[in-house]
């Protein structure tokens, strides 16, 4: 196949070139591309903030930026990365692009709402960026009261409004996915024939729909308190500052699963494709996603072990937190078992999958530390927690995100990425990540509190190590940005199924036509049946 073939055939990318054909598109694939561009920008922005934080922490004195600036840096790093990168990351890009294709649908159930949710993310991001340009916000991404409502004199309202609006983007995406999975499956595509990526996004949709409104209303209350000085959270007026933490974490803990469940879905696809085996224990992996979504709503109180909540609340939340660990463990074991007697390829996406399983294992196991009451009292609000959730969010979600991007790149663009460079950058990311965040476990147990601009000198060596690792990590993140852009024009043309994968998305030409399937497929095979791999599509 040649480049000429790519250009002759009408597909979703060359079906209209004008700005309007993109900004008013209802095609889930184009919307996915819009999301991809948007969140890449947010990721870069959050990454710049992270680099400045790491640079500042090279010396204990806090002499690079002022403490006001430092506080704004980590707040904006958190806000951007959590609400504008991690939460939309996998669902809004790969979920949007492939969920309809995987179940044999022409589009999501509500294409206009899908476009609306992209605009909402843009609007929310606009407010957040306005807040940053105007002077920043310094409350931490957690907005704890009464600091955020009464004491901070930064742009809390604009930022909260941005998150509020972006929240509706998330809700609408989740709603769209749930309805699509329920109502749009192709003939024969029963629930247990769906790829696990679809299961994961479905479970994520449930959390988005149930959890996000709670943070929205919490932000409304913060807004009211800040503007009208009413006493919902301010103890001086009879309010309860810890109530905020309950409401906040009621969403924000499940939000962790919004960030990691779709990533787990990606890993299921990668592990299966590159070992040419069905996922070991498919129903267990599928139901563990649902279990995580449900139990995830019952554990928010483990963020409040030292907040002064009652002893018994602490016990209950610790107990329940261990329950949510089990489904994650089941997933890890099943992925590993899938490799057994497989036909394992070392293509870049698989390297990311290996990286994910390893780092997520560490992230998950250290979750057991912070769920143990006695230990959490010591390590909460220290770098131990920072390291733990970066192992899950960056070592987990971002690894899976990049793995997925490489895996589906040929389908999305019709081109292959350069394999050598991709492997190199995967290596940089894995090594850089561990160098950055492993020292932070030690720092945390030593007692280094989080959100410290200056720190006692005995912590310096570990901080320097962490910053050194971050530079390696940064190189690892910059490389794909360059070679992926390069491959858009110069990459070798990919066939319709370069990996020999099984999903319905590989039964369409690359890039897919606007309505995905000329003929809606009838599904007869189980998921991940490698005796029935879609053949290369002959393009006329």
């Amino acid at each position: 196949m040649t480049t000429a073939v790519l250009q002759e055939r009408t597909h979703y990318l060359n079906n209209g070139y004008g700005l309007k054909s993109w900004l008013l598109t209802k095609d889930h694939k184009r919307i996915a591309v819009l999301y991809f561009i948007t969140i890449s920008i947010f990721f870069a922005l959050g990454g710049v903030f992270a680099s400045l934080i790491r640079l500042e922490l090279v010396t204990p004195a806090g002499d690079l930026v002022s403490s006001e600036t430092y506080n704004k840096l980590f707040t904006m790093h958190g806000v951007i990365m959590v609400f504008f990168f991690l939460i939309p990351s996998v669902p809004a890009t790969m979920g949007n692009f492939f969920l309809p294709m995987m179940i044999g649908a022409r589009d999501l159930a509500f294409p206009k709402i899908n476009l609306l949710s992209w605009y909402l993310l843009i609007a929310g991001g606009g407010f957040a960026i306005f807040a940053m340009m105007a002077g920043g916000v310094d409350t931490g991404w957690t907005f704890y009261t009464p600091y955020s409502t009464t004491y901070s004199n930064t742009y809390v309202i604009a930022t909260a409004l941005g998150i509020f609006i972006a929240g509706f983007s998330s809700i609408l995406t989740g709603l769209n996915f749930i309805v699509t999975v329920h109502r749009m499956r192709a003939p024969g595509m029963t629930w247990f024939k769906m790829p696990l990526f679809v299961w994961a996004n479905y479970a994520t949709g449930v959390i988005q729909v149930l959890g996000t409104p709670v943070i929205a209303v919490t932000l409304v209350l913060v807004f009211c308190e800040r503007v009208f000085h009413i006493g919902i959270f301010d103890p001086a007026l009879g309010g309860d500052p810890v109530l905020f933490q309950h409401l906040f974490w009621f969403y924000s803990h499940p939000a962790v699963y919004i960030m990691v469940l779709p990533a787990m879905g990606v890993i299921s696809e990668l592990v299966s494709t590159f070992s040419r085996k069905p996922i070991f224990g498919y129903p267990f992996v599928a139901f563990s996603s649902v279990a995580i979504a449900v139990i995830g709503f019952l554990v928010w109180g483990h963020h409040l072990f030292v907040s002064g909540q009652s002893l018994y609340a602490g016990l209950v939340f610790s107990f329940l937190s261990y329950f949510v660990a089990i489904p994650s463990a089941i997933k890890v074991f099943n992925w590993t078992a899938t490799l057994y007697k497989g036909s394992i390829s070392y293509a870049t996406p698989m390297l990311y999958a290996f990286g994910f399983i390893g780092l997520f294992t560490i992230g998950g196991l250290t979750g057991l530390f912070v769920a143990a009451l006695g230990i959490d009292v010591h390590v909460t609000d220290t770098y131990f927690v920072i390291a733990h959730f970066h192992y899950v969010m960056v070592g987990g979600t971002v690894m899976a995100y990049l793995g997925g991007v490489h895996y589906w790149w040929p389908k999305m663009t019709g081109r292959m990425y350069p394999e050598g460079w991709a492997k190199l950058s995967a290596l940089f990311i894995f090594v850089g990540f561990n160098l950055t965040f492993f020292p932070q476990f030690i720092l945390g147990y030593l007692g280094m509190p989080r959100r410290y601009h200056a720190y006692p000198p005995e912590f310096q060596v570990l901080h320097v190590a962490s910053t050194a690792g971050a530079t390696v990590l940064a190189v690892g993140y910059i490389l794909p940005a360059i070679y992926l852009a390069w491959s858009l024009r110069y990459g070798p043309v990919a066939g319709s199924n370069p990996w020999g994968a099984t999903g319905l998305e590989w039964a369409t030409p690359s890039p897919p036509p606007t309505h995905n399937f000329d003929r809606i497929p009838v599904v007869t095979h189980e998921a991940y049946d490698y005796t029935a791999v879609p053949q290369e599509v002959e393009v006329v």
């Binding site: 649908a105 022409r106 294409p111 309805v179 996000t212 006493g231």
Partner: protein, 226 residues
């Protein structure tokens, strides 16, 4: 193969191009609205949780503050809203039968009731403002209790909850107006009236929220010892 033929057919309102059958599309729209309403329940749920916590913390203040609200007006408004739900049901029924004139009449009736509700609500809010019961007013004062802080919390919740509810009503009024215009433009028929149907769901939901708000805000002092 019908699906193949369909992929190239012109899309209609009743059958958008991503769907195979009109029934599938209607099912999807209805399910979508239900899920949206679940989201709304969680949205109001956060407020109800805050209300519950503070009411159990300051039961007497909440009772005193609640008794300062005008129950008669609240009850009248409840009736108005229930009536509007009834006319909405009738509009949906007219939609099922494809009677455009009846749809328009009942939608307009619903619209009028909705506007009456909002007008009465605005009157009540103004009353609160005049009585200095609005948090944020420098002269805020609630008679009958020394605890002005918790009294403010009650009224903050009162304004936040009724305000949020009213906002949903305003959105509902906008939806009704759109539906009326669309019906006049002959967009709906007995085959396709999904927007009327799911807007009905929304309207009833907003109604139900009020059914919870009314006793919680207006009637809670009734069972407390005086």
């Amino acid at each position: 193969m019908s699906s193949e033929a369909h992929a190239h057919a012109e899309e209609t309102l009743a059958l958008r191009e991503q769907f195979d059958t009109a029934e599938q599309q209607k099912d999807a729209s209805t399910l979508g609205m239900w899920i949206f309403l679940i989201t709304e329940i969680m949205f109001f749920g956060g407020m109800f949780a805050a209300y519950t916590i503070y009411r159990s913390a300051y039961p007497t203040v909440f009772a005193v503050a609640s008794s300062s609200l005008n129950v008669t007006i609240g009850a009248i408004n409840t009736c108005v809203l229930l009536l509007s739900s009834f006319t909405m049901v009738m509009a949906v029924r007219a939609g099922q039968m494809g009677k455009r004139n009846m749809i328009i009449i009942f939608l307009i009736l619903t619209l009028i009731f909705g506007c009456i509700f909002l007008g009465v609500k605005a009157y009540e809010w103004n009353e609160k403002y005049v009585e200095h019961h609005m948090p944020g007013q420098a002269a805020f004062h609630l008679e009958g209790t020394p605890l002005q802080g918790p009294a403010k919390i009650f009224f903050s919740l009162y304004f936040a909850m009724t305000g949020l509810h009213a906002l949903h009503m305003v959105v509902g009024v906008g939806i009704l107006l759109t539906l009326i215009v669309q019906t006049r433009a002959k967009k709906f028929s007995a085959e396709y009236f999904t927007p009327i149907d799911i807007s009905g769901l929304y309207w009833h939901f907003v109604d139900v929220i009020w059914i919870f708000l009314f006793p919680l805000l207006y009637l809670i002092d009734r069972h407390l010892p005086k």
